[in-house]
Symmetry: C2
Subunit: 189 residues, 2 copies
């Protein structure tokens, strides 16, 4: 049992995992605990897709790389272009060979979808850290355009992925990146 202070130190973005699989009941327990997050008007707009099949994860990684490179090609000025070289590297799996990927998604027309799912993602990352697991929000992993692979993972046209979260047992835990001083625009006292 960790104190919150310990969890704050422990919760790092992990991109280096042991081979070890995570049991499905454990993933479901973490998802259930994550739904204790607050949401706008208690709307709970979140849906989940759990992927533990490494072949499917590899294909999802390839599909995201393809669709992201197409976007960069169409518009080389976008900030994404900084990732071009990594995305062109065929050996690079954007999910870092994690044993599990959870997509947090929802109906694309829900106004508060982004913030609600991000709150839930934060709970999920703490809940996993609490159990000795490591996570990373893989922003690049949301770009699944191909209708066939969307169908295969149960992602309908009306759904939008907000947070692709990889989960696994950390092989190493990096030091925290330094934080900037909080930018306080004004104190109105």
């Amino acid at each position: 049992m960790n104190s919150f202070e310990e969890l704050l130190k422990k919760r790092r973005s992990i991109r280096d995992f042991e081979e070890r699989e995570i049991s499905l009941p454990l993933i479901q327990e973490i998802i259930r605990e994550s739904t204790l997050a607050p949401s706008a008007s208690h709307g709970q707009p979140w849906y989940f897709i759990i992927i533990t099949n490494r072949d499917v994860m590899k294909r999802l990684s390839d599909e995201c790389k393809r669709s992201l490179l197409a976007r960069i090609e169409a518009n080389p000025e976008i900030p994404l272009s900084g990732y071009k070289e990594a995305l062109q590297n065929t050996g690079f799996n954007i999910f870092y060979n994690a044993p599990c990927l959870v997509y947090i998604a929802g109906h694309a027309e829900t106004g508060s979808l982004d913030v609600d799912c991000a709150l839930l993602a934060s709970y999920m990352m703490f809940s996993a850290a609490q159990r000795g697991l490591g996570t990373c929000w893989i922003g690049l992993g949301a770009h699944i355009d191909d209708p066939e692979i969307r169908r295969e993972i149960g992602l309908s046209d009306v759904c939008r992925i907000v947070a692709p979260i990889i989960i696994g047992y950390p092989a190493s835990i990096p030091e925290p990146l330094p934080r900037e001083e909080p930018k306080i625009l004004k104190i109105v006292s």
Copy 2:
């Protein structure tokens, strides 16, 4: 010192506060701890505005009510219309007479602003709960259109408020609202 399990139970949305003020150093400590949240490409795009002046908070509440009612007037079909009666109630302070309001904001053009600030807000709500404080994300509180009041609180035109978080000592802590079963669209194993 609370365990994470205890914090999960303790972190409720609080709308009923003691009169007691919160010290500015304590608010700043919570803000600093919140910046341990992860952000896209470690961008840390968050800015903060701290408001502890109750007159200013009352005027911000009035401004949000005015601008929200104008939106409802212009488009009665929007979901916001459910709040019409409350917003017309002159006795209703949308910030529930909390002693402190923290605006989490950022440059409107930052692509990941919503999710980054929501992750930070989640950290802030845990960090406050850890110190015996209560919080609530007041979605209605972000709608500050009036240029004069924006200037007064240091909110420039390029800034967008993502999360208005009220903070105070809870006068009462409500029971958790029941959660739906997690909607798992598919398990790909």
